[in-house]
């Protein structure tokens, strides 16, 4: 895996996109460390996790969907809806968080399940179904309220503001722990279960997966349910971070999640990719933001420009690969 004479042996080719993203991350970190004072610390990386924990969770769900060859455009809206439901239930009737959070997760999973079922049962493109889901969930936010609702529940805010101290003055938030647990569980499921195999096989070739007797239908419905669950959990983490619910939260987050997954080396057509790649993809996106903020004079829109450029590069890279492997 250390050699870059690829294409000769087949194993490294599979890991190459992840490797490239990893190298890119290291390179960006080094450049940042040289250019800016106080950049090259562990806390900078931890901050990227802290600021992007919710995106990480959402991107994990997206990875499942994209691995089967699908797409889920509804995630950003479901995140917003989740913050809105959490905030309004805690502010209005004053429900306790331990009731609100499971309810929100249930709603998110339910939305995913319904979309997955429609995609499977009526054989409609995921793009259209989840686009409909995106509008629906975003619209539902405004039926709850058009303004931002602050979250003042003491347990909730206390948990959100907890700092978990690590060694050498470094710290993380509980959200990071939750996100990393999600990543761990998801990676385990993808690589060590029959369901995980079915996900890869469905994305690799749905027809042959069917003829191998794999439960393609169940797999497809399940990945959208997982994505719905992850979006809802991402919404909960975002409400920890923002301490508010708002219909305009997470606008365009579905695209960030897709970008992270693609930059992480997962093929949009499905079948190949790793969760580790997705984690690196989120970190690269986060680090771009950090560098822009360190630069100071640059507008935050430069983040988008860099993400755009990176996406171009990665999609071209993937194109080269798939052209080679299809041969």
């Amino acid at each position: 895996m250390t050699t870059l004479t690829l294409g000769r042996t087949s194993v490294p080719a599979k890991y190459l996109p992840v490797l490239v993203t990893g190298c890119l991350f290291v390179a960006m970190f080094l450049v940042g460390g040289i250019r800016y004072e106080g950049f090259a610390t562990g806390q900078i990386i931890l901050n990227v996790f802290i600021d992007n924990g919710f995106l990480l969770v959402v991107a994990v769900g997206m990875t499942f969907v994209i691995l089967t060859g699908g797409i889920d455009l509804s995630v950003g809206s479901v995140v917003a809806l989740s913050t809105m439901i959490s905030a309004s239930l805690m502010a209005g009737p004053g429900w306790p968080p331990y009731l609100v959070v499971p309810l929100v997760l249930l709603i998110g999973s339910g939305l995913g399940l319904v979309m997955g079922y429609i995609i499977h049962a009526f054989d409609i493109q995921p793009f259209i179904v989840t686009l409909a889901g995106m509008f629906l969930a975003r619209g539902l936010c405004y039926t709850i309220g058009t303004d931002s609702i602050p979250i003042e529940d003491p347990t909730f805010t206390a948990f959100a503001q907890t700092r978990i101290d690590l060694f050498a003055d470094m710290w993380i938030s509980p959200s990071v722990v939750i996100a990393l647990v999600v990543v761990g569980v998801a990676a385990y499921v993808l690589h060590y279960t029959r369901f995980g195999r079915a996900v890869y096989a469905t994305g690799g070739s749905e027809q042959s997966a069917l003829l191998m007797g794999l439960p393609v239908a169940r797999t497809k419905v399940t990945v959208y349910t997982i994505s719905g669950f992850c979006s809802a959990l991402g919404g909960v983490l975002l409400s920890f971070y923002m301490l508010s619910g708002y219909g305009l939260h997470a606008v365009g987050m579905e695209l960030d999640a897709i970008a992270a997954v693609v930059i992480g080396g997962t093929l949009l057509t499905g079948g190949t990719g790793f969760l580790l790649g997705t984690v690196l993809g989120v970190l690269v996106l986060g680090l771009i933001q950090t560098i822009i903020s360190f630069e100071g004079t640059l507008s935050s829109w430069w983040t988008k420009i860099f993400i755009g450029l990176l996406l171009f590069v990665f999609i071209l890279l993937q194109r080269l690969f798939s052209a080679r492997t299809r041969r």
């Binding site: 690799g204 027809q207 003829l211």
Partner: protein, 509 residues
């Protein structure tokens, strides 16, 4: 009648590793219907692709003279310009567009860049009258049946002022009425002076319509028969199409045949795209343990359709009939059921339907039998690796390791992965569809050895193959399928290529 409109001489076309055509000659007289006959893979379609410019000049050797001029077509547009139109077996029509739009597709009736719809529909109507198609020109293609779509293709050819019309298996997907109508139409076109070249497996039709028949075998022209003499029979054509010596390309095998493993009774399947057409028609067959049974049939006879409909209804609609496993009736609704009852099906198109090409060997091998390698959903990766490694050795899969990506293996080794995958599910019945397609000779021998070994382990094997020598060399008993019906069952001792080909081309009376 003696003037030749087309002469192809010394045509040789090579694909990497294979000579598809070798020194083929074809002469077609003006105004005749000329049939081309040969087994599957004999090179008929390749020859027509050379003629129509699909393989441009320079990619083949030899000379084409059309209308007295030497032709060097660089694409289909060139050949169509010269007046040669090919109608492929899979019709090239755009389903959402109307009949008139399809007829003039790429050749629109336009005035200053804008389409003149009145003229388009009027002219389409005229052309449709010529081919005997009574429909409104604005009807979408998807609303008319395949028989009528075929007529639209011919109308389209007429709109291009065709001089030589090539039809590849025109009646393969048609019912009897539509076929008869089409043949009448071709006779009518001949009387108008349009020359036709028709590729067909249906020898009774060839005899009925053709003025001359050219027979191709293994990429070479064997002979051209004149039908005018009245001496040419189906048997005469068959002996030209086969007539190949069997050499010992097959490992010797002494079968030990046991109990009945699978029995299929009165199996009928309708086409999903044309729900009124029977693809398999009342087929019954029996497979016994330890026995290798062949299923012979020409392209379009319904071999794959029969196999896939049995394998968990993966093809077809309105399936009826009974399946008995070990003598007991079973209901197989999906692939999981089929695997549960010990039935495995290795597809003819392993790249598209049989393998996940972007995945590695071990995961392809374990995909169908994952249940046996997992406990409560968790896959035992060590066991998976061990099993894959075992097949890697026992099947002699040539790859550096079981982590190698399947898409990079050769055809023979891919097939070994497919077989490994199904053997892992511990089936009693293996249906192998074209198990040696696209595999070189050495690897074929290995696949045959594996098939023999499976039979010796007491499994029932059904081999579907287009290559008659393969069936004769491998199978203990051979069924023949023609137009969806089982037309014969021949034990090994009595089987000859001529006998099988006769049964395979036997039409419905």
């Amino acid at each position: 009648m003696t003037e030749h409109i087309l002469r192809m001489s010394g045509i040789t076309k090579t694909f990497p590793g294979v000579k598809a055509l070798q020194d083929v000659n074809l002469s077609v007289r003006r105004g005749e219907i000329h049939a081309i006959c040969g087994e599957n893979g004999a090179g008929k379609s390749t020859l027509m692709k050379v003629l129509s410019g699909v393989y441009p000049h320079g990619e083949y050797e030899g000379e084409i003279t059309f209308e007295g001029k030497r032709c060097e077509f660089s694409g289909i547009r060139d050949s169509e310009h010269a007046g040669i139109v090919i109608i492929h077996q899979e019709l090239a029509l755009s389903p959402q567009l109307s009949i008139a739009e399809n007829i003039f597709l790429g050749n629109e009736r336009a005035k200053r860049g804008l389409i003149d719809w009145n003229r388009t529909n009027y002219e389409a109507d005229e052309l449709m009258k010529r081919v005997g198609l009574r429909e409104n020109p604005t009807t979408p293609i998807s609303d008319i049946g395949v028989g009528k779509q075929q007529l639209v293709e011919i109308a389209k050819a007429l709109s291009k002022e065709v001089k030589l019309l090539i039809l590849d298996e025109p009646t393969a997907a048609l019912n009897d009425d539509d076929s008869a109508h089409l043949l009448d139409l071709l006779r009518g076109l001949r009387d108008e002076g349009i020359t036709c070249v028709i590729i067909s497996h249906k020898l009774n039709e060839v005899i009925a319509i053709a003025d001359a028949v050219t027979i191709i075998r293994d990429g070479r022209t064997i002979e051209t028969l004149e039908m005018a003499s009245g001496q040419v029979t189906e048997d005469r054509i068959i002996s030209g199409m086969v007539g190949r010596a069997l050499d010992n390309r097959f490992p010797p095998h002494e079968p030990t045949i046991g109990e009945e493993a699978l029995r299929i009774e009165d199996w009928t399947v309708y086409s999903p795209s044309q729900p009124d057409r029977k693809v398999v028609d009342g087929a019954s067959l029996t497979l016994r343990r330890g026995e290798i049974v062949g299923l012979a049939g020409l392209m379009g006879a319904g071999r794959t359709e029969l196999a896939m409909s049995v394998f968990g209804r993966t093809y077809g609609v309105h399936i009826s009939g009974k399946i008995f496993k070990d003598g007991k009736p079973v209901e197989i609704r999906n692939v999981q059921d089929a695997i549960k009852y010990g039935i495995a099906y290795a597809t003819e198109d392993r790249k598209r339907y049989g393998l996940n090409l972007i995945e590695d060997i071990k995961r392809n091998i374990s995909a169908a039998g994952l249940k046996g390698l997992a406990k409560r959903g968790w896959v035992n990766e060590h066991e998976e690796y061990r099993v894959a490694e075992q097949f890697h050795k026992s099947m002699n899969i040539k790859a550096p390791s079981v982590d190698a990506v399947v898409g990079k293996l050769s055809g023979g080794n891919q097939q070994k992965v497919v077989l490994s995958k199904w053997i892992l599910t511990e089936p009693d019945v293996l249906i192998l569809d074209e198990p040696t397609r696209g595999i070189d000779v050495g690897a074929k021998y290995e696949i045959y050895t594996i098939i023999n070994r499976l039979a010796d382990q007491g499994k029932a094997v059904l081999v579907i193959s287009s290559e008659l020598p393969e069936l004769l060399g491998l199978c203990d008993r051979i069924y023949t399928l023609s137009e969806g019906r089982i037309t014969g069952e021949v034990p090994r001792q009595e089987a000859t290529q001529e006998r099988l080909m006769y049964l395979m081309t036997k039409g419905q009376e």
